[in-house]
């Protein structure tokens, strides 16, 4: 091993720590969230839902506009044509066979979507972490997750949030989410999210495959995988409307 080479190695190891150590935890989150903001998107993908009874795959196409409008359409055989429309904080589900629309309200929002670890509620609500949580680094502030160096952040809810405590691992290099563990008020770990693959589209880095594992239920996890994604594509804005759900 030459000296030169060893310097490089040392640089590689130390540099990020030194360069980004000046960043505050808030800054990490802000940078992280900046990556996640875009005006519109279009994607297709699948959900691999596993529970104690087996695994099912649901395929879907999704379109979003801003943070308030989202349209999911399922394309797998069983639920083909079922749509979920989010308009601000309202959720509507369209059933093609009966050509009917059900508005999800109240407790129904806490229902799981097709047995996955997502609830309808997860599709709504305030997204910015900093409005909801006090963020600070864990000690030590970095940690490797699957060989990738990450910031290890601790999030403490400042308002009533579903998960009052979170631990979040953000890749130091790209400042994207890598892993998160969600805790209850009594600091019981409830869920874990882990990003398995990312994809870069139009300068944004997307988690194209991630897994959410339910830590309370045995054998319960949901894998979310995007096949294709377009950022800021041309979208027909009218598709995010109740009138057009049928089509």
């Amino acid at each position: 091993m030459t000296i030169k080479r060893s310097i490089w190695l040392a640089l590689l190891v130390v540099l990020p720590a030194t360069v980004f150590a000046q960043m505050t935890a808030e800054e990490v989150v802000r940078r992280l969230e900046k990556n996640e903001v875009y005006t519109s998107s279009k994607s297709s993908g699948k959900l691999l839902i596993t529970n104690q009874f087996g695994t099912k795959t649901k395929t879907f196409t999704a379109a979003s506009q801003g943070a308030e409008k989202l349209l999911l359409e399922f394309t797998n055989k069983e639920e083909r044509g079922q749509k979920i429309l989010r308009l601000n904080d309202q959720i509507f589900v369209y059933y093609p066979r009966s050509n009917s629309v059900v508005s999800m309200q109240g407790g129904a929002l806490k229902d799981s979507i097709f047995g996955s670890d997502f609830t309808y509620e997860d599709l709504t609500g305030e997204k910015s972490i900093l409005n909801l949580y006090k963020v600070e680094f864990a000690q030590p502030s970095t940690e490797t997750v699957d060989g990738v160096q990450c910031y290890h952040l601790r999030l403490t809810g400042i308002t009533s949030v579903a998960y009052p405590f979170q631990e979040l691992w953000v890749e130091t290099a790209r400042l994207v989410r890598r892993k998160a563990v969600f805790f209850s008020l009594t600091r019981e770990p409830l869920k874990e999210m882990e990003v398995k693959e990312t994809k870069e589209v139009s300068g944004k880095i997307f988690p194209s495959r991630f897994v959410i594992t339910d830590l309370i239920k045995k054998n319960s996890s949901t894998e979310f995988a995007l096949d294709s994604i377009q950022i800021n594509p041309r979208l027909d804005a009218r598709q995010f409307s109740l009138e057009r759900l049928k089509f």
Binding site: E78, V93, R97, S98, V101, F114, L242, E243
Partner: protein
């Protein structure tokens, strides 16, 4: 002069009073015979109803069903349902076996059309059942509960129970939107009501809907599966042995993880029927007591009325036991005649009713519509219990005369003579 014939003449001496005593005892006997028949009928009804709707003589379900029925019942179906049915029918002890598919469903009974789509308004939870209508002909024959104007459902159609139809004012030809979700997703369909069934079990009549088994399988994407198979064994087959045979047969045909239960081990079916009949017996006992008091009363009246006569007989040298015998004979003759009349009348009424059945619901509650539960009960005349009632009535009505007569026998003749 024989005591017996005096007793007999005493009966005819005051025809009115004897008639009253006789009719009281006869009516009590009649009522008890009738009551027994009704109770027997109710018991039978309960048992057959349970068997028809819920348990069969035996029920087969997936072994995991019970544990997971509240979180994922649809995951615990009987696969290869046709094969299972075929295997069961090959069993000589099995008379018939039917498969059913039950699932909870949300039903929208009203909706608005906005933007060309249906927006459900009023929804209600129901229990939907898929049945093989041709197999069920001799089991749970929905056709026999159809309210006039309806028919069994075809493709895209359902039957709704009377109570449900009444609650939402539904009639054949109306449509419903049905949503049924399992762990993995929600399915929906628009279904047309082909008919309304007035079911004899309140639980069922309140909120059940019925469709063809294949329709239910298709709707829930569970082709070839059933939730349960109900078996009826041939008459005279011992259920316990037959169940064991069924278990073996299923295992031989490669079915694993199936749970075969005889009817009396399902839920509390056996115990409830047992309990009900125990309560009925107790009530019959109180009935007897009530009937008995009528008899005691009559005898007492007779004795007080004849006090002076008692005095005379005592003065003539009749002993206490002889006095008692005299009154006992009287009571016995009336009792036996009355019990006979009562039993004959009771049987004569029950025999035709045991064939035609009595709809007590309609008989008593005039406010009922034909969507309500039919409380048809087929009274059962049981020879043993009828004979028992005859002997019991006779015995009680004559033996009971001892109570007042013993007092009469103790009365000093002087006292008896003094009374008017």
């Amino acid at each position: 002069m024989k005591i017996a014939s005096i007793a007999l003449r005493n009966i005819f001496r005051n025809k009115w009073r004897s008639f009253l005593s006789l009719s009281a005892i006869a009516l009590v006997t009649f009522t008890i015979v009738f009551l027994f028949a009704i109770m027997e009928g109710m018991k039978l009804d309960q048992r057959t109803t349970m068997a028809k709707f819920a348990t069969g003589d035996a029920r087969i379900r997936n072994a995991g069903f019970e544990k997971y029925q509240f979180i994922a019942p649809e995951e615990f179906m009987i696969p290869d349902y046709d094969k299972a049915i075929a295997a069961l029918r090959a069993d000589p002890a099995v008379e018939t076996a039917v498969g059913r598919f039950q699932f909870p469903a949300q039903v929208a009974v009203k909706w608005e059309v906005i933007f060309g789509m249906n927006w459900p308004g009023e929804t209600n939870s129901t229990l939907a059942t898929g049945l093989d209508f041709s197999d069920e002909k001799s089991f749970f024959s929905l056709a026999s509960y159809l309210v006039p104007g309806g028919r069994l459902p075809g493709q895209g159609e359902i039957l709704v129970s009377g109570g449900f139809a009444k609650k939402f004012n539904l009639k054949p030809g109306d449509s419903l939107i049905l949503y049924s979700g399992g762990t993995w997703g929600q399915q929906d369909a628009v279904l047309k009501i082909s008919g309304i069934v007035a079911l004899p079990l309140a639980q069922l009549n309140v909120n059940s809907i019925y469709m063809a088994l294949s329709a239910a399988q298709n709707l829930l994407l569970r082709q070839g599966q059933a939730e349960e198979i109900l078996i009826r064994f041939k008459p005279g087959v011992a259920v316990g042995d037959a169940v064991a045979a069924v278990r073996t047969a299923l295992a031989r045909n490669g079915f694993k993880d199936l749970d075969v239960k005889p009817w009396n081990e399902i839920g509390n079916a056996g115990t409830f029927i047992d309990l009900a009949s125990k309560i009925y017996y107790f009530m019959a006992f109180f009935f007897f007591i009530l009937g008995t008091t009528v008899i005691i009363n009559t005898t007492m009246m007779v004795i007080y009325e004849r006090m002076r006569e008692i005095g005379t007989l005592r003065a003539m040298g009749m002993t206490g036991p002889e006095m008692i015998r005299l009154f006992f004979m009287e009571a016995f003759f009336i009792g036996a005649a009355a019990a006979f009349v009562g039993v004959i009348l009771g049987s004569a009424l029950i025999l035709p009713l045991s064939v035609s059945g009595v709809d007590f619901g309609k008989l008593i509650d005039l406010g009922k519509t034909n969507l309500d539960i039919s409380d048809v009960i087929y009274p059962q005349l049981n020879l043993v219990s009828t004979l028992f009632v005859f002997f019991y009535s006779t015995a009680v009505s004559s033996l009971i005369s001892f109570i007042p007569t013993r007092r009469a026998a103790k009365i000093e003749p002087v006292e008896a003579l003094r009374s008017i």
